[in-house]
Amino acid sequence: MENFQSQTAENRYDKASLAKNNGATQLSNTNELDAEQLAELMLKVANLRCKVSFAKLFKHFGPKISAFGNQRLHQQGLAMDLVQETMTRVWTKAHLYSEDKAAVSTWVFTVMRNQCFDMLRKVQHNKEDSFGDDIWPLFESDDAESNEDDFKLSGTLLRHVDELPPLQRQIVQGIYMQEMTQQELADKLGIPIGTVKSRLRLGLEKLKGFMEKHYD
C-alpha cells in the first residue's frame, strides 16, 4: 500500500490495476468515468433532464473542481461556491455541449475556468460582471461550423462584410459574428427562415466575389 500511496498520478489506469492486484478496495467504487461514459451522461442531462446522470457527473467532477478552487480561490473561501456555480451551469447550459466539438471534461473545465475568472474579478474589482463566456465561448454555432469548409470566417472576410448591402450584412453578421441560428435570426427580424437562407446565400456569394476580385 505504501508503494501505491507514494505513486504520483502518472496513469490512473496503472494505479487502478495495481490496486486490484493488491486486493485494495479503495478503488473498487472509484468515481472515475471514461470519456464515453461522461458523454452519455451529459447527453442524458441535456436531452432528458436526467438527475441521476447529473449526480454521477457531480460525483465525478465535484472533487476535481473543489481541488482547483482550493488552489485558485482558497484565500477567498470560495472553493465550494465554484463547485456550486460550475455544476449549476453544467445543468443549465448542458444543451450547448456538443460531443463532436470537445470532450465533456474539456467543456466542464471551460465552464469552471470561466466561472473562476468572473469570481476572481468580483473579488479583485468588486464587479458583478460575467465576461468569461464572451471570452471563452462554451460552444460554436452550428451554422458557422457547417459553413466552415466552403467559407472560412477570416480577417479577410470581416473586412468585406461592411461592403455588403445592409439586409445581407445583417444576416451574415447575425450568423457569423453573433452566432445566432437561422431560426433565431428569422424570429428576431420577423422574417421567414427562407428569406434568411436566401439573404445568407446571396451575402456569402457576394463576399466570395470580393475575395476573388482581391486575391485572385
Binding site: 498520478a9 472509484t30 472533487p63 481541488a67 465550494m80 445543468w91 464572451d134 453573433q178
Partner: protein, 226 residues
C-alpha cells in the same frame, strides 16, 4: 496573412484564466481572426484540462464525497435543479455587435460584446472609445484612425498592445493587417499611419503583469509591489 501572434506563454496564461481582462479580450479577439491561434488554444485547453483534472489523486482515491459536497449535491437534487428548470434564465443579451465611428460601421469580435459602455471621443482623425475593465494598471480602448490619419511618434511608459481589428496601418517596422497582434515595450518608438483607416484595440501603460498572470495580483503583497 496575419504575421504577428501572441507568444505561447500568453496563450497558456489565457487558457488558465490568469490574465487580466484587458489582455484576455485581446487574445480572444485575435483568435477569432486567426485560425492558427484558435487551434493552439483548443489544444492548450485539452492539455490544461488533463493537467487540472487527471492529476487529481485525491478524487481518484476517495470514494465518498466529503460532507460539504454531499449536502450540496443533495440540495441540488432536491431543490435547485427543479428551480432552475422552472425559472429559465433571462434571454441572452447579445450586447453590442458592431460599432460605428465617423459613419463607418465595424463588426466587433465576440469578446467585446459587453464591453462597450462609453462614447467615442477624439480630435481630428483619431477617435478613442475607452473600455472600463476596472484595472488600475492599464487602459484599454478601441482606437479608430480615419483615412490618411496618423498618431505622432510616441514611446510608452510600460508596454503597448495594439490589435488591428479592421483596415490597415503602417509604422517604421511594417504594414499590419486585421488580426495582427503587436506588443511593444517602452524601448520602441513608432508613429502609425493609415491610408484607408483602421480600427484597433489597444492597451497602454501595460506593466509587467501581462506575462506574470493576474492571480498573483490578488495577493496583497503582490499588489504593493506592483
Amino acid at each position: 496573412m496575419i504575421k504577428y501572434h501572441p507568444q505561447h506563454e500568453l496563450l497558456s496564461l489565457h487558457i488558465k484564466g490568469e490574465l487580466p481582462l484587458s489582455m484576455s479580450l485581446a487574445i480572444s479577439a485575435h483568435a477569432e481572426l486567426c485560425d492558427i491561434c484558435q487551434q493552439k488554444l483548443n489544444r492548450l485547453t485539452e492539455c490544461e484540462t488533463a493537467a487540472t483534472f487527471d492529476n487529481n489523486t485525491e478524487s481518484n482515491i476517495s470514494v465518498d464525497l466529503d460532507s460539504e459536497m454531499s449536502s450540496l449535491l443533495a440540495h441540488m437534487m432536491q431543490d435547485t435543479l427543479d428551480e432552475l428548470d422552472a425559472n429559465p434564465a433571462q434571454p441572452y443579451n447579445e450586447g453590442v455587435t458592431e460599432v460605428t465611428v465617423k459613419d463607418q460601421s465595424y463588426p466587433l469580435p465576440r469578446a467585446f460584446r459587453h464591453q462597450i459602455n462609453a462614447q467615442w471621443q477624439g480630435i481630428g482623425k483619431v477617435s478613442r472609445l475607452r473600455l472600463n475593465t476596472g484595472e488600475e494598471q492599464s487602459r484599454a480602448s478601441l482606437l479608430h484612425i480615419a483615412p490618411q490619419g496618423e498618431i505622432p511618434e510616441h514611446t510608452h511608459k510600460g508596454s503597448e498592445l495594439t490589435l488591428l481589428l479592421a483596415g490597415e496601418f503602417s509604422d517604421e517596422y511594417n504594414t499590419y493587417r486585421p488580426g495582427d497582434f503587436m506588443l511593444l515595450d517602452e524601448n520602441h518608438q513608432h508613429s502609425p499611419k493609415t491610408m484607408t483607416g483602421c480600427l484597433c484595440y489597444t492597451i497602454v501603460d501595460a506593466p509587467l503583469y501581462f506575462t506574470k498572470g493576474f492571480s498573483k495580483l490578488l495577493n496583497p503583497i503582490g499588489e504593493l509591489l506592483y
